[in-house]
C-alpha cells in the first residue's frame, strides 16, 4: 500500500489535509519540508479519502508539495530505565543532547484501568507542610492541581513537594514552560539529588504548540509502566491551563462549536482522560498526579480550573503566597487522617471553622466596627494561625503541627468556645493556657503574637 504522499490539499492553523488511502485513525505521519525539516503529525479526522492531521511542529513553512509519509502506528514513547535523569521534548526526542531512545516503545493514551481492579488509596504522602498534612493530606494515587495565578510561587511549591515527598520516581511534564522555569526545575532536582530518579518531558514556550499537547500523555504512559513494575511515581504537570489552551486552538481550527469561552465541549473528557491515569495498582506501584492550573484573572469559574476541579480529587489554592484553607481541599484526606492521630480530624475541622469566623471578623474590622471581646479572640487566633500554620516557611511534621494547633487554640480560647468534643479537650487541651510556649516558634510567630495580644 502506498504510504508516501506529496500533495497537501489544505493548510489551516496547525492542521493539514491530504488525500490518502488506507490511513488509520490517530496514525502518525512524518512530514518533510522542501528544506529537509521533519515533523510528526497525527491523524485527527478521516472523511472518505481526505485525511486531516495536526502537525506537531506547526504548519509554518509547510508547502503543498511537502512529503508526507504515514508511519502505520499511533503515537508511542520509549520506556526504559535508561530514561532516568534524561530530558525529552513533546515529541519524545532528547533535548539534553543525549542519545535517542530506540527500543521498547509503548503506546500512549492506552486503555483505562478497570475500576473493579482499583483499590481504596490508604497511604499518606507526607510533605511537612501543615496546610497539606493537617488540613488537606496528600494521598498516594491522588490527582491534585495547584490552582494559582501567575506571579505566585506555584512551581516552587511543586518542586518542594516533589523533593520532600517519599516517592520512587518523579516525572515532570512541562507544557509551554518558560525557559527559566525549565532551568529552575532542572537545577532544583539536581541540587536536591533527585535528578537520577527523574524523567522530564519538556515543551517550552518557544516550542511548537501541538507538541505541548503530547506532554501529559507521554509522562503518564511512562509513569503507568513504571508503576506496573512496582514504582511509586509522582507526575508533575505544569501548566495544564496551557494544555487546555492548545486543545482550544486545535478545536477552533477544526471548526468545532465551542461550549464555553472558546473551549471545546469535550474539555472535561480530555482533561479527565489524563488525570484519571492516577492509580494505585494492587500489588504493584502507583501514579500520583500533581498539576498546576493557572487561573486567568484569578477566576476559579474560568472553564479550565472549573473543569479541572470537577475531575481532580481536590485542589491546593495558592495565593498571596499561602495555601488558602478556603478553596483548598483534598478529597482523599479522610482515607488517611482517621488513623494518623485521633485528634487529626477534629483539629482540621475545628481550626478551619474558627478561621472562617476570624475572616468574617477581619472584614468587620476592616469596615471600622467596634471589636467585641469575642472578636478580639478571633483576631488573635487568626494572627497565630496565619503565621504558625499557613506560612509556607513552616516546615514541621504532622504531629508537631497538631500539637501546635492545640496550643494556638489554648492561647486564644476557652475549650467550650471551640466546639470540640469533650473527650478530645480532656486529652489534648494544654494544661495551662495562655502563653503556652512553643519551642519551635519562629521569629515571625513571636512577632505576630505580640501584635495580636
Amino acid at each position: 500500500m502506498r504510504r508516501v504522499y506529496n500533495k497537501v490539499q489544505q493548510i489551516s492553523g496547525n492542521v493539514i489535509t491530504v488525500e490518502a488511502e488506507g490511513v488509520t485513525y490517530e496514525e502518525l505521519a512524518e512530514i518533510t519540508t522542501q528544506r529537509g525539516v521533519k515533523s510528526l503529525a497525527q491523524v485527527i479526522k478521516l472523511e472518505g479519502n481526505m485525511v486531516s492531521l495536526q502537525v506537531f511542529a506547526g504548519s509554518r513553512g509547510l508547502s503543498v508539495n511537502d512529503e508526507i509519509r504515514f508511519l502505520g502506528r499511533p503515537m508511542e514513547v520509549a520506556f526504559s530505565e535508561d530514561m532516568l535523569g534524561r530530558i525529552f521534548d513533546g515529541a519524545g526526542q532528547p533535548r539534553d543532547g543525549g542519545p535517542s531512545m530506540t527500543e521498547n516503545f509503548i503506546q500512549v493514551a492506552g486503555p483505562s484501568v478497570n475500576p473493579a481492579r482499583r483499590i481504596i488509596p490508604s497511604r499518606m504522602i507526607r510533605t511537612n507542610i501543615p496546610m497539606i498534612d493537617v488540613f488537606n493530606s496528600l494521598v498516594v494515587s491522588q490527582k491534585l492541581p495547584i490552582f494559582s495565578v501567575s506571579g505566585e510561587p506555584y512551581n516552587e511549591l511543586l518542586a518542594r513537594i516533589a523533593l520532600q515527598a517519599q516517592v520512587d520516581m518523579i516525572i515532570l511534564g512541562g507544557i509551554k514552560l518558560k525557559y527559566d522555569e525549565y532551568m529552575y526545575f532542572r537545577n532544583v532536582l539536581e541540587e536536591g539529588g533527585a535528578l537520577y530518579r527523574s524523567i522530564m518531558f519538556v515543551n517550552t514556550a518557544a516550542d511548537p504548540i501541538v507538541e505541548s499537547l503530547m506532554v501529559p500523555d507521554l509522562c503518564l504512559a511512562v509513569a503507568e509502566n513504571f508503576a506496573l513494575q512496582g514504582k511509586d511515581v509522582l507526575v508533575l504537570l505544569t501548566d495544564m491551563t496551557n494544555f487546555a489552551d492548545a486543545l482550544k486552538e486545535i478545536a477552533i481550527t477544526m471548526e468545532q462549536v465551542p461550549s464555553n469561552r472558546g473551549y471545546p465541549g469535550d474539555l472535561y473528557s480530555q482533561l479527565a482522560a489524563r488525570y484519571e491515569k492516577a492509580v494505585d495498582f494492587e500489588g504493584a506501584g502507583s501514579v500520583t498526579v500533581l498539576g498546576v492550573t493557572t487561573m486567568p484573572g484569578d477566576d476559579v469559574t474560568h472553564p479550565v480550573p472549573d473543569n479541572t476541579g470537577y475531575i481532580t480529587e481536590g485542589q491546593f489554592y495558592l495565593h498571596d503566597r499561602v495555601i488558602d484553607p478556603f478553596g483548598s481541599l483534598s478529597r482523599l484526606k479522610q482515607l488517611v487522617n482517621a488513623d494518623s492521630r485521633d485528634d487529626h480530624r477534629a483539629i482540621m475541622d475545628g481550626m478551619i471553622q474558627l478561621y472562617s469566623q476570624y475572616r468574617e471578623t477581619e472584614e468587620k474590622r476592616a469596615m471600622g466596627f467596634r471589636m467585641t471581646a469575642w472578636d478580639q479572640k478571633l483576631l488573635q487566633y487568626g494572627g497565630l494561625f496565619t503565621s504558625q500554620m499557613m506560612s509556607l516557611t513552616v516546615n514541621i511534621t504532622l504531629e508537631e503541627a497538631l500539637d501546635r494547633g492545640w496550643s494556638i487554640l489554648a492561647d486564644c480560647f476557652r475549650p467550650e468556645e471551640t466546639g470540640f468534643r469533650s473527650e478530645l479537650v480532656d486529652k489534648y487541651w494544654p494544661r495551662q493556657s495562655g502563653g503556652a510556649d512553643n519551642p519551635d516558634a519562629s521569629m515571625e510567630e513571636t512577632e505576630s503574637k505580640a501584635k495580636a495580644g
Binding site: L46, S112, E276, L329
Partner: protein
C-alpha cells in the same frame, strides 16, 4: 432475519460515518469489525444510505472501508435474576469478571454476558396452565439474596396471554424455558427467566402511575425534616465542585430506606466508585442484617471510560431500576453526575454538526432531561401492589452557576431541589444543602408548621447576620442577636451532620423527631440574657452538649443523661 452491513466512510472522534446496504433503524446496535475485535456502536442519525454511529470504544486504528455489522436490535440490557450485587459498566458488562479475564485494564472490544448463564435458581411457579397473564404478570419467583425475584412475562408481549405450559418447581438456569404463552391469535412463545429490554424505552407494564406521597427516609436530617423526598419521586443535587454531591449520594445510598439502590457513576472519578464497591460488601444493611451489597447495583462508567457508553449508562441504570420496581420493590437510583451525561450528548451533537443551543448543548437537551426523570414514579402493578423508582441526579454546573442549561432544565421537572452552596461547603457546614434556597414538593416526616417556623428563624437569623456585617454587633439589638444565635444553633446541631461519624451520619426518623422537639424548644423559648456575650456563651455551651449528644448511640447509657444536661441548661436561662 436479514441483517444489514456497511463500510466506514468517515471517522471523527468517537463518531463514524457508515455507508450501508439494506434496512437499519435509529438506535440500532452495530459492531465495527477491527481485526479480532468487535467495537459496539449505536446508530444516532440516518441520512439516505449513510448512518452516523457513536462508537462505545476508542476509535484509534479504524480506517475507511472497515466493515460494520448491524445487529437488528436496539441497545438493550439483559434482565433476570442475578443483577443485584453486580458491578457493571455502562453497557452492562460485569467489571469484576472483565478484570478476572483481562487484568488491570479494560481492553477495547471486551464484552461478557451480564448474567451468570450456568447458575441454577430455585424456581417456584405462581401460575398454572390455563391462567391468563399480561406483560409484567408474575409467572413465578426465585430467591435472590434478600428478595423473591419475580419471574415476569416479558414486557414486550402484547395483549392477554394464556399459560399453556409452566415449569414445575425446581432448579433451572436462566435460559431454561419455564413457561409457554399463547396470544389471542394462537401464536405460542417460550419464555425463560431472562429477556432483553431496550434501555431508552421506559417499561410500562403496570396498571397505573400514582402520585408519590410516602416519604423515602434518607436519615439525612436536613433532607427528611426540611426537604424530603418521596418514594417514586425525583430530586436533584446541583452544586459546584467539591461541595459534597458525591458524599451526600454515598451517604444516602448506604442509609436510605429503599429495597434496592442503584448507583450510577456517570462520567465521574473512578476512585469514588471504588469506595462504594470495596466497602459495601463489608457493611451490613440494618434493615436486613445482610451485606449492603446485596441490595445494591453499581453502574460504573467513569470519566476516562468511553464517552458514548457514558451516555448509555444512565439509561442502563434506569432500566434496571424499573425492572426491580416491577417486582413491587422500592428502588432508589442515584446518578452522579447528570451533567456528564448531558455533556456526552453535547459531544455527540457537535460531531453530528447539529445546530447548537445555549452553551453548545443540543436543542433537545431539556426534553431528554424531562424524559429521564419521568421514568421515576410510584406505580400500581398488575397484581394490585405498588412499586416505586425514585431518581436522584447530581448536577455539576459550569462555574458553579445554577443559571445554566442542565440545572435549569432539571429544576423544571424534579420534585425536590437540594442545592449545595459554595459558602456552606467552604465553611465546612456539611451537608452543604442551602437551607434557604432549597425546596421540596413532598411531605416532611416532621410537623410541617414547626418546620416552617424553624425555617423562618433560619431566614431571620441570616437577615440579622447580614445586617451585622453592615452595622456591626454593637448596632444590633439583643433580641435580634438572640435570633441569630438560635439560627446558628439550629444549623450547627440539626442541619449539619457529620458524614464520617458512625452515629451522626444517619439519624433514624424517631430520633430526628425527638431531636427536633428539643431544638424547637430552644428556638421558641424566650431567654433572659444580660448581654450578647452572655447569650453567645450560653448558646455555645448548649451547642457543645448537643453535639456530644449527637455522637452518642441512642442505646448508650449516657444518652438519657446527656439529654437531661441539655434540658437543665435550657431551663437555667429561660425567662
Amino acid at each position: 432475519m436479514n441483517l444489514s452491513s456497511g463500510k466506514i466512510v468517515g471517522v471523527n472522534g468517537n463518531m463514524v460515518a457508515v455507508q450501508f446496504d439494506g434496512s437499519i433503524m435509529q438506535n440500532e446496535v452495530a459492531n465495527v469489525v477491527h481485526g479480532e475485535q468487535r467495537l459496539k456502536s449505536e446508530v444516532v442519525r440516518i441520512t439516505d444510505n449513510r448512518a452516523f454511529m457513536q462508537v462505545f470504544e476508542s476509535t484509534k486504528g479504524l480506517k475507511i472501508g472497515d466493515d460494520v455489522e448491524f445487529t437488528g436490535e436496539m441497545l438493550a440490557v439483559e434482565l433476570g435474576p442475578g443483577i443485584l450485587g453486580q458491578i457493571y459498566d455502562g453497557l452492562q458488562n460485569p467489571l469484576p469478571q472483565l478484570a478476572a479475564a483481562h487484568g488491570f485494564f479494560l481492553p477495547r472490544g471486551a464484552s461478557l454476558a451480564a448474567l451468570d448463564q450456568e447458575r441454577e435458581w430455585t424456581f417456584t411457579p405462581l401460575v398454572k396452565e390455563g391462567d391468563t397473564v399480561v406483560a409484567g404478570s408474575y409467572l413465578g419467583h426465585v430467591p435472590e439474596g434478600i428478595f423473591e425475584h419475580k419471574i415476569m412475562v416479558p414486557f414486550g408481549l402484547l395483549g392477554e396471554l394464556t399459560v399453556t405450559h409452566i415449569a414445575a418447581a425446581g432448579d433451572y438456569t436462566i435460559q431454561h424455558t419455564i413457561a409457554r404463552l399463547k396470544d389471542a391469535q394462537g401464536n405460542e412463545q417460550d419464555v425463560s427467566m431472562t429477556f432483553a429490554w431496550p434501555v431508552k424505552v421506559p417499561i410500562e407494564a403496570y396498571r397505573d402511575k400514582l402520585l408519590p406521597v410516602e416519604p423515602l427516609v434518607t436519615k439525612v436530617r436536613i433532607i427528611d425534616a426540611f426537604f424530603p423526598v418521596a418514594k417514586g419521586g425525583t430530586f436533584c443535587v446541583p452544586g459546584p465542585f467539591g461541595s459534597g454531591k458525591t458524599v451526600l449520594q454515598q451517604i444516602i445510598s448506604r442509609h436510605a430506606e429503599a429495597d434496592v439502590v442503584i448507583v450510577a457513576a456517570c462520567g465521574e472519578r473512578a476512585g469514588e466508585v471504588v469506595e462504594t464497591l470495596r466497602e459495601f460488601p463489608e457493611l451490613t444493611d440494618p434493615r436486613t442484617g445482610r451485606s449492603l451489597m446485596e441490595r445494591t447495583i453499581i453502574i460504573c462508567n467513569t470519566s476516562s471510560m468511553p464517552v458514548a457508553a457514558r451516555e448509555a449508562s444512565v439509561y442502563t441504570a434506569t432500566t434496571l431500576g424499573e425492572y426491580y420496581r416491577q417486582m413491587g420493590l422500592n428502588v432508589l437510583m442515584l446518578a452522579d453526575s447528570t451533567s456528564r451525561w448531558c455533556q456526552a450528548m453535547r459531544e455527540l451533537s457537535g460531531r453530528l454538526e447539529e445546530i447548537p443551543g445555549e452553551e453548545a448543548f443540543p436543542a433537545y437537551l431539556e426534553s431528554r432531561i424531562a424524559e429521564f426523570y419521568e421514568r421515576a414514579g410510584l406505580v400500581e402493578l398488575q397484581d394490585g401492589n405498588t412499586g416505586s423508582l425514585t431518581i436522584s441526579g447530581t448536577v455539576s454546573p459550569a462555574g458553579g452557576n445554577f443559571e445554566e442549561p442542565v440545572t435549569q432544565s432539571t429544576l423544571k421537572v424534579v420534585g425536590a431541589f437540594l442545592g449545595l452552596s459554595y459558602d456552606r461547603a467552604y465553611a465546612r457546614r456539611y451537608p452543604a444543602i442551602d437551607p434557604l434556597d432549597s425546596w421540596s414538593k413532598y411531605e416532611p416526616i416532621l410537623p410541617k408548621e414547626r418546620v416552617d417556623q424553624a425555617r423562618a428563624i433560619l431566614s431571620d437569623g441570616d437577615g440579622v447576620r447580614q445586617m451585622m456585617m453592615v452595622v456591626g454587633e454593637e448596632g444590633t439589638s439583643l433580641d435580634d442577636f438572640e435570633t441569630y444565635l438560635k439560627a446558628e444553633f439550629l444549623d450547627a446541631v440539626f442541619l449539619q451532620q457529620n458524614a464520617f461519624d458512625p452515629v451522626d451520619a444517619a439519624t433514624a426518623p424517631e430520633r430526628q423527631k425527638h431531636m427536633f422537639e428539643v431544638v424547637f424548644t430552644v428556638l421558641t423559648r424566650s431567654f433572659s440574657f444580660e448581654s450578647k456575650d452572655q447569650a453567645r456563651e450560653f448558646f455555645y455551651q448548649l451547642r457543645q452538649i448537643f453535639i456530644d449528644w449527637n455522637y452518642m448511640d441512642a442505646d448508650a447509657d449516657q444518652y438519657a443523661e446527656q439529654e437531661k444536661k441539655i434540658n437543665s441548661q435550657i431551663e437555667e436561662h429561660s425567662k
